[in-house]
Point group: C2
Chain length 341, copies 2
């Protein structure tokens, strides 16, 4: 593949001149410039980003680690991030940790070797050891998205998950429900924990206690939610509504309801958190609280680029300066929750 030397030779100038001409980083006479561009065309030159990165000491790559890219939420988030990054001339290396913290740390190593300019990660681990590994990851600025890890001094962009849990639960309470089940994700993951807290807060405001028998845990996946929902539905005093801590778990619950011969929302109401892109196509149309995914993605990239360009203080320098950008969810009432008559 042609390099800058070939262009220089073809145009009869030095490589320095080619570089300045192509990057517009200094004065080049009209006619040499033209000769150079012609030469570029003639030899089929495309600059070598690798060499440039080495010389400049920085790449135009952003690493993104999500826990489950087939989840529509992460799909949409990936899209938003990719879009925002490209607008700034950055490409995105997408990695899937599959909810596995060891795998995630491996991926971070990989990104470190690639010398990405910055890293966006939806963390899937927990515990002190894990937090330290995350914090130790030097080299590139790293900010967490979607899931907040307690005590980690890094910037964070995500949703107010307590508000999300509260909003959806309050809505269901307003419909007259009192026995409301909760299907959470993995304990220790902020999205799940905070949504659960919100659920409890809403119950408390209504003078209710969460019933442990109605508070279940799955692992964010549809199949698991399906499995845990079945005994729930087999109870004699089964709940009249189910809140699922994410979108695909709501689908799992919905499936269990159908398979056990119940109807939603007539027999039991279901609500999820995180909207689906095509949620209006489902029957019943799922009632959820939606995240402003596009904005979250944009904000994450924006924040990361501030660190990359050095505008923001490095968190290891000023640990207390770690910032958060928390977005508010919006309730979307559709058909899957009915008023209790």
């Amino acid at each position: 593949m042609a390099n800058i030397r070939d262009v220089a030779k073809h145009a009869g100038v030095s490589i320095a001149t080619v570089s300045t001409a192509l990057n517009g980083t200094g004065p080049v006479s009209e006619k040499t410039a033209r000769r150079i561009w012609d030469a570029v065309e003639a030899v089929g030159y495309a600059p070598n980003g690798i060499a440039r990165s080495l010389r400049l000491g920085k790449t135009k790559l952003i690493g993104l680690v999500v826990s489950e890219i087939t989840n529509p939420f992460f799909g949409a988030l990936t899209l938003a991030i990719e879009k925002a990054a490209h607008a700034q001339g950055y490409a995105v290396i997408v990695c899937n940790s599959n909810e596995d913290d060891a795998r995630e740390l491996e991926l971070l190593d990989l990104l470190r070797v690639q010398r990405v300019a910055g890293i966006l990660v939806a963390p899937s681990g927990q515990g002190d050891k894990y937090r330290d590994s995350l914090a130790r990851n030097a080299g590139a600025p790293l900010i967490t998205i979607d899931r907040h890890v307690e005590g980690l001094k890094r910037d964070f962009v995500g949703l107010d998950n307590r508000a999300a849990g509260r909003m959806i639960t309050e809505y269901i309470l307003r419909l007259g429900h009192r026995r409301i089940a909760f299907i959470g994700g993995r304990t220790g993951v902020s999205t799940s924990d905070h949504r659960y807290e919100g659920y409890c807060q809403a119950l408390a405001s209504a003078g209710l206690q969460p019933d442990p028998a109605l508070c279940l845990r799955a692992d964010f996946r549809s199949e698991t939610a399906y499995t845990v929902a079945q005994p729930l539905l087999a109870m004699t005093d089964r709940p009249t509504a189910i809140v699922a801590a994410n979108n695909v778990m709501a689908l799992g619950a919905l499936q269990a309801i159908g398979d056990l011969g119940f109807r939603c929302p007539q027999d039991i109401s279901v609500a999820g958190i995180d909207d689906f892109p095509w949620s209006t196509a489902l029957r019943p149309r799922l009632t959820t609280v939606a995240q402003p995914i596009e904005e979250i993605g944009r904000a994450a990239v924006e924040m990361l680029l501030e660190h990359i360009s050095g505008e923001a203080a490095a968190p290891e320098a000023a640990p207390e300066a770690a910032r958060s950008r928390i977005f508010l969810p919006t309730l979307i009432a559709r058909d899957s929750c009915a008023a209790l008559t």
Copy 2:
């Protein structure tokens, strides 16, 4: 960030020795090796992939261009590809062309600048000009996935889409339907065109002609399918079944059916192509033909790596040697298609 020189200094050896020790590419005495590894630990060294790539003249990056990453099919495909690539030590740069061919060519340029080792692309353009731009993309081996572009001498991995269209249509015919509508994607895109051909073949085998009034075009998106399905359902001699050329368009059709007060499958049957990860959670459970996505992703990476390692002939050298790996779909009969009584 620490470099190989720091390690060498710390261990009291030359950088050449560090390199050979770390890569195991030559003999290093037991005790220097230990000193070197200790030094790596001490200075916190991670090799600079950029410098290595420059020296070696090749990267460990694969570029992936999909047309719509939020489509669950592409989400799952991305996952499979990412998995297979990581297993071989490659990272994946994911790009979203948004069904826009100009954007796609830009992205290919970007990947070219990054000097990716190879490129997988689900092409979204058509026409001679487009095909030539794709073919001209030199530098890295490129193979097309999912969508085949006619006349392009590149390897291809994807589904037998004619078989898919045929299978699903034959199934519906077997259920007794005769007025079967087809909602396609963009004309000129092989997945849509071939599925349509399969639909026609199945009709022909049953002695039927495709009715132009029942053959509609959308653009692979749910909303558009919803829009075009509405007039279809308003017809007095409306079809008794709808085949959608992909999964999300099937959902769009389903939504239109619901919104117009019909029931699926009692009033009208619907079938899609491409399965959903959580399709069993939908009501009615969608009847589809499914692709072996995992295998397709694996095969694509495998094929690409053969080109990268030089085992496979470069298509520009032996244009006639362009290979195809075509997978067969499997019919999954669920609840969204009912027998016509």
